[in-house]
Subunit: 181 residues, 2 copies
DNA sequence: TAAAGCATGTAACATGTTACATGATTGC
DNA sequence: GCAATCATGTAACATGTTACATGCTTTA
């Protein structure tokens, strides 16, 4: 995963390993954390794979290495971005991918979001079913917190579904916040 | 983390490693995945630490090992459950802990939820601030999906906050679902 | 001039997954 | 009798974190 995020970051702008970390933190820090201990070794591997090239900065006062994505690296990233992963992708991973969807054509983006939405819907049904089984339980009060986590899952999935509905149609994002407060 | 979840599971009921996995999957599978490759080695370690004991099933037709939590194991689990982690706990980890809050006294449970809520509020402010910076950006349309992930974070945090508000006061959980649909 | 930030990198550790190996029991 | 499920366990692999080592540059 991180290798693609690195490629996606370099796709937008060449930069140093240090800057890559800052970009990731600023952009998708909410969903994904990357440390130097994972970035630097990966950059080395991407160099070996010729997905990126690297040059010492002309401004040689600093010992910085500027990384640039290659054509091969771009193709690799594009392929990942367009791939419709059937996997049981966690929402955080999916969001880290969505972050780069501005580089994807709208149709494919919508399709991937719809796919994710469908899986989320199926999962929500499961949870609602689980909730019903609990609903008439005599000992309900003894499981208040256990149940609360189930409700958390339900509310979270409902949130995901409304997000999908808005974003797959490229609806104005402010609708999210306006309806609140 | 998993060691505590195993202890918490055995606290409620003695069982085999196989059953522990099923329990985890059924209870907090939504937040936490555990494979045999992680459970069995951990059970061995918990045995060494005398947090659990183990006996071959009397019904010896099957080669099953029934694990039982010890007093020392219970104390260890209690301590973890009551500990007010200041850490930057991810919501999933927190929920896995909340799952066991029925074993904790109400005051401490509410206090931990309030603590989590506070940290979530601070984070939400950050995100709302970030959003404002984007709001009047001329190139906003070029970052639709990038922005959408920011909004996802905002909506998610708002969801977390309302969950906290309900659960820390032990309010009827159905309010979550009733207001919807 | 001291602290904060820029900048790279490694080694030890932690954690967990996947695939494999093995074999009994239960339900159809 | 066959498939599904119960049941345990290991070894190789994947992934990533933390702490450490090093030293320059910018800013208060």
């Amino acid at each position: 995963m991180l290798e693609y995020i690195i490629l996606g970051t370099l796709y937008q702008q060449e930069m140093t390993g240090y800057d890559i970390r800052k970009c990731i933190e600023a952009g998708i820090g909410m969903f994904y954390k990357a440390s130097y201990g994972s970035i630097y070794p990966l950059l080395k591997r991407l160099l070996d794979l010729e997905m990126v090239t690297c040059s010492q900065a002309a401004d040689s006062s600093r010992k910085q290495k500027i990384y640039v994505i290659t054509e091969s690296g771009k193709r690799c990233f594009d392929k990942w971005l367009a791939a419709d992963e059937n996997e049981d992708y966690k929402i955080e991973m999916f969001m880290a991918k969505v972050y780069f969807f501005d580089q994807l054509n709208e149709e494919q983006a919508s399709k991937q979001i719809s796919g994710f939405q469908k899986r989320a819907e199926a999962y929500l049904s499961e949870l609602l079913h689980k909730r019903e089984q609990f609903l008439y339980n005599e000992h309900k009060d003894d499981f208040y917190f256990k149940l609360s986590t189930l409700y958390f899952g339900i509310v979270k999935l409902q949130g995901i579904l409304s997000w999908c509905e808005v974003v797959k149609n490229r609806t104005e994002l402010e609708t999210f916040v306006e309806t609140k407060v």
